[in-house]
């Protein structure tokens, strides 16, 4: 598993870690029942605190991506990949809708919101 964390990002480390594990699962790098590295092992490898890794594993478990068997370790759950992709899409939609609602209450016009979105997309995806 190739995980790269950005220490200077505003996104908390555990969220970055969750995202990358999810990506791995969705891409099919991990299969069902594959063991994830132990909390301390991954923490040593990534040079982040074990509690950060544990937090990421706990959240992943809540979202149904992994299962932790006490004393044995953490394993990739029987996830339906389609469903996982769908779930992520829904999460993104929720956050965007939140932002759009806030834009509306702030009195921004439809075009202004679109403009903001364009700028952000350009920043993020590059100009293509």
């Amino acid at each position: 598993m190739n995980i790269l964390l950005n220490n200077s990002s505003m996104i908390p480390l555990y969220e970055q870690l969750m995202d990358q594990v999810k990506n791995g699962i969705i891409r099919g790098d991990f299969r069902e029942n594959d063991a994830l590295p132990s909390v301390r092992a991954l923490s040593a490898r990534l040079r982040i605190s074990a509690l950060t890794v544990k937090k990421a594993y706990d959240r992943l478990e809540e979202e149904g991506f992994v299962v932790t068997v006490h004393g044995k370790g953490t394993f990739v759950a029987a996830t339906d990949r389609e469903l996982a992709v769908e779930a992520r899409r829904r999460a993104v939609e929720e956050e965007i809708s939140l932002a759009v609602q806030r834009a509306k209450t702030a009195g921004l016009s439809r075009d202004e919101v679109r403009e903001i979105m364009e700028i952000m997309l350009e920043d993020c995806y590059g100009n293509d």
Binding site: L13, Y14, S38, R40, A44, S49, L51
Partner: protein, 286 residues
């Protein structure tokens, strides 16, 4: 694993008053400037000094009544003390083998070789860095359940610091249930290692927080005087005048990021934390 409740110790004008807890399987950092009281906490935890008040328990036992059998389960690296400087590493190996039934000689020798510690040289001829490495390796050599390390990286250059920290991390990964207490005044060393951090200053604990919360929620706001005037002060922990504005320390950097678009926010490293929370000007908001 370790509980310290209202530990008090007086040395002249210096008064220590500390409570902290290290649950099983936790790596806890104790950060603070030199002379803040870190070593005193460590000495009390190891039963080397008698507290004037409060209670220190290790493995559920009062620290003062720790026996040799309990100490077998503790690995210690102290900043200013170790084996006699007249001994050679080869002799230290023999002595450790007599002290610890679980001493892993092969692993210890290999680790010493990897770190470039010569076996035939008296410890008094070791460099500062070599001594520090040996102290850490000694703490890690016998499968301890509790590691207590006072300033394990002091006096090391960047590369050696990395090596030492990696060996501690490797130990943690191989001993999932072991707990650690690590002190440092170069706190960035502890960012990638400790689960939680206590900040100690002038004998008192100023702050206790999980490391990842510290890294993700705490931050530095760099603002001019005008922006500062309209800044919501609720989540500011301290501020310091800087140029024609202020440097402010917050535990809710996202709140300011969302509500003051364009505000300059820096990620709060743990060294910033020490600086902002302990300097005289920095504490004006407390």
């Amino acid at each position: 694993m370790v509980t310290i409740e209202g530990l008090k110790k007086q040395y002249g004008a210096f008064a220590l008053d500390v409570s902290l807890e290290i649950p099983a399987g936790r790596i806890t950092g104790l950060v603070g400037k030199n002379g803040a009281g870190k070593s005193t906490v460590i000495k009390a935890l190891l039963g080397l000094i008698r507290p004037d008040g409060g209670k220190v328990t290790v493995f559920g036992k009062e620290a003062a009544s720790l026996r040799a059998a309990d100490r077998l389960k503790i690995g210690t690296a102290l900043s200013n003390s170790g084996f006699s400087a007249y001994l050679k590493l080869e002799e230290v190996v023999r002595i450790l083998a007599k002290f610890y039934p679980d001493f892993n000689e092969t692993a210890f020798r290999r680790a010493c070789e990897e770190m470039g510690l010569p076996f035939g040289k008296q410890l008094q001829h070791y460099s500062t860095g070599m001594k520090a490495k040996l102290r850490v390796l000694t703490a890690l050599c016998h499968g301890a359940k509790l590691l207590v390390m006072d300033e394990p990286t002091t006096g090391l250059d960047v590369e050696a610091r990395g090596e030492v920290l990696d060996s501690i991390r490797r130990y943690a990964a191989e001993h999932e249930d072991c707990s650690m207490l690590i002190t440092s005044h170069i706190a960035s060393d502890l960012e990638g290692l400790c689960d939680d951090l206590y900040l100690i200053h002038e004998g008192k604990i100023l702050l206790h927080e999980d490391t990842d919360v510290l890294l993700s929620e705490y931050g530095l706001l760099r603002v001019d005087a005008e922006t500062y005037a309209r800044l919501d002060p609720r989540y500011l922990l301290s501020r310091r005048p800087e140029g024609n504005g202020y440097l402010c320390f917050t535990d809710q950097k996202r709140y300011y990021a969302e509500n003051y678009p364009g505000i300059l926010i820096e990620k709060g490293g743990i060294d910033d934390l020490i600086l902002m929370m302990t300097s005289a000007e920095g504490r004006t908001l407390q």
